[in-house]
């Protein structure tokens, strides 16, 4: 009997929860704010769905009733991707070690 592809996706999902669990516990508490902003940025990979939705109009039709939602989602996700990664970068650049000669 063939296994439903859903089961494979479910397996990936469950295993990723465990990976996430162990990886996040190892994040140092002083970086919890960057952790939140970076998880924000990566969860905007939902833009993948937005792009598919936006390009679903077919030949000649760019803005159909369904593709408009895709375009709107692209803007939202893009704000998040650029904003999330850049603000994380900005924060992480500030974390410095003690200078010996001070």
């Amino acid at each position: 009997m063939e296994i439903d592809p859903f089961i494979f996706r479910l397996s990936i999902f469950i295993l990723s929860i465990f990976v996430g669990y162990y990886v996040v516990w190892s994040v140092t508490p002083s970086l919890h704010t960057p952790l939140m902003s970076v998880t924000n940025a990566i969860s905007s990979v939902i833009i993948v769905g937005a792009i598919i939705a936006a390009l679903s109009g077919g030949d000649g039709v760019v803005f159909s009733s369904s593709s408009i939602y895709g375009f709107l989602a692209i803007i939202l996700a893009a704000v998040n991707i650029f904003g999330g990664f850049l603000v994380t970068q900005r924060m992480l650049a500030m974390y410095k070690k003690k200078k010996k000669d001070k």
Binding site: F13, G20, V23, V24, W25, T28, T33, I81, G83, Y95
Partner: protein
């Protein structure tokens, strides 16, 4: 691009996202981790373009919208002050939630584009996943908007409660389940819209009763929700990158919520069911009698610190409000020149989001190896000469250890009172967010410095 190749590349981008989080285990590796995250995102976007393979005029519009959103995001990222990070993160969560709702709507209206069947005849499993993605996304959106408004101060941070609140929420949740079941059997678009509307309402209702000081938990929780919403959409789109990311973000937010709840010694449900300030009226009234307080000025504080050999700084949300982190660092620099050992003690729930204080201190060029967590530094208070409490309150209240009647009893607190002397910068004697008096104000060795945190710190530096 073949479906198998794109699936593998999506997997690669998922793995890069795991490495991005892994990098955050130490500040040295964190920047590299962020780079992995960016590469993962680029791969995911490019692969999507190639696998759709539609480079018609629509593609140009996609790039335009991407550029518009990207510039807005970049602009915000560069302009936002570090003190406003909680608002920013809450705002970003709302965008992820709304994007999930939009993608779900689009997939519902045009399922053929996603290989999910035809309108009115969508595969059952996809429909359920879509409904979950849309509902969780909508809850994330409206909840985050409320959190944002509360953090921004546009909406009062006080909990808003009314009779039958929990019953109403429970009924609405049941309604969502019923709607989903009917949606699956009828495929009616009206039901789909109703489902989304009810979910918006729930998100709104579950956040309004939660008070300002519980915001760290709320933000972490919404972080988690945005992940589960992404995962729901990931199942609909059969996309591994989204499923992996959703699971990562979902568990990350859940862990942060847990850490925050533990930092307040409250159960998750206790926070979510809300109304912290509302239940504490009795204890507030009991402590109304006037007790003597010693107050001093910048000169006294400078004198105390000059004669100390070690000082521990305890920052809190008040420091963020007063934007006092730079002034504080200047004061510490002066202290260090006088060979005084200075370290910083950070309570897990100091500020309005996890790690908020650490970012602010980093912004003010405080080296991160001088900043310590509660467990690391709590024993050092007994050996320190001066504790300088700036903008923190409830997290230093010794009542949490001594008075079982107190609403914060059992909450881990910084043992500030064990220091030889305590300098407490505060604008007035008013209680903190928990609505209870801080015993520390009335201790023999406490000197209250009534002033704006920034101004007081600057004055002390002048007097040193």
């Amino acid at each position: 691009m073949s479906a198998n190749l794109s699936a593998i590349l999506y997997l690669v981008s998922g793995v890069l996202f795991i490495l991005a989080l892994r990098g955050l285990s130490s500040p040295e590796t964190s920047r590299q981790g962020n780079l992995f995250g960016i590469i993962g995102m680029v791969i995911a976007v490019v692969v999507t373009f190639l696998s759709v393979g539609n480079f018609s005029s629509g593609f140009i519009y996609v790039l335009i919208f991407l550029a518009v959103g990207g510039s807005i995001g970049a602009f915000i990222a560069y302009r936002i002050p570090m003190t406003a990070m909680p608002e920013l993160v809450a705002g970003f969560h709302s965008l992820v939630g709304l994007a999930a709702v939009f993608v779900a709507i689009s997939a519902f209206m045009n399922p053929a584009a996603f290989n999910l069947g035809t309108p009115g005849n969508i595969k059952l499993a996809s429909l359920i996943e879509m409904a979950i993605g849309a509902a969780v996304g909508a809850i994330t959106f409206s909840g985050s908007v409320i959190a944002f408004l509360k953090l921004q101060g546009i909406m009062s941070g006080a909990p808003i409660t009314f009779k039958g609140q929990h019953l109403l929420n429970a009924l609405l949740l049941i309604l969502i389940v019923i709607l989903t079941i009917y949606l699956c059997s009828t495929q009616s678009s009206n039901l789909f819209w109703t489902l989304i509307a009810v979910s918006f309402l729930i998100g709104f209702l579950i956040i309004i009763p939660i008070g300002g000081a519980d915001m760290p938990v709320v933000i972490s929780m919404l972080n988690s929700y945005s992940g589960w919403a992404a995962a729901g959409i990931g199942f609909t789109l059969e996309n591994t990158a989204l499923i992996i990311t959703g699971a990562l973000v979902g568990s990350s937010g859940a862990i942060l919520s847990y850490i925050m709840c533990k930092g307040m010694n409250r159960s998750f449900f206790n926070v979510i069911l809300g109304g912290f300030g509302a239940t504490d009226q009795t204890s507030e009234n009991q402590n109304k009698e006037q007790r003597p307080v010693k107050s001093g000025n910048a000169d006294d504080a400078a004198f105390l610190m000059k004669n100390a050999s070690s000082v521990i700084i305890v920052p809190g949300y008040g420091m963020a409000v007063a934007q006092a982190q730079h002034a504080l660092r200047e004061m510490v620099d002066t202290l260090k020149k006088n060979d005084i050992k200075v370290s910083y003690a950070i309570h897990p729930v100091a500020g309005r989001m996890p790690g908020h204080m650490n970012v602010l201190l980093a912004e003010a060029n405080v080296p991160y190896d001088e900043v310590f967590e509660l467990e690391e530094i709590n024993n050092d208070f007994a050996n320190a000469d001066v504790a300088f409490v700036i903008g923190a309150n409830d997290v230093t209240n010794p009542v949490a250890k001594t008075d079982p009647q107190s609403p914060i009893y059992g909450m881990p607190v910084l043992d500030v009172e064990k220091c030889k002397s305590v300098l407490f910068v505060k604008r007035s004697l008013s209680p903190g967010y928990a609505g209870i008096d801080n015993d520390l104000f009335y201790k023999e060795n406490t000197l209250m410095l009534f002033a704006d945190a920034k101004k007081m710190t600057e004055d002390i530096t002048k007097n040193l």
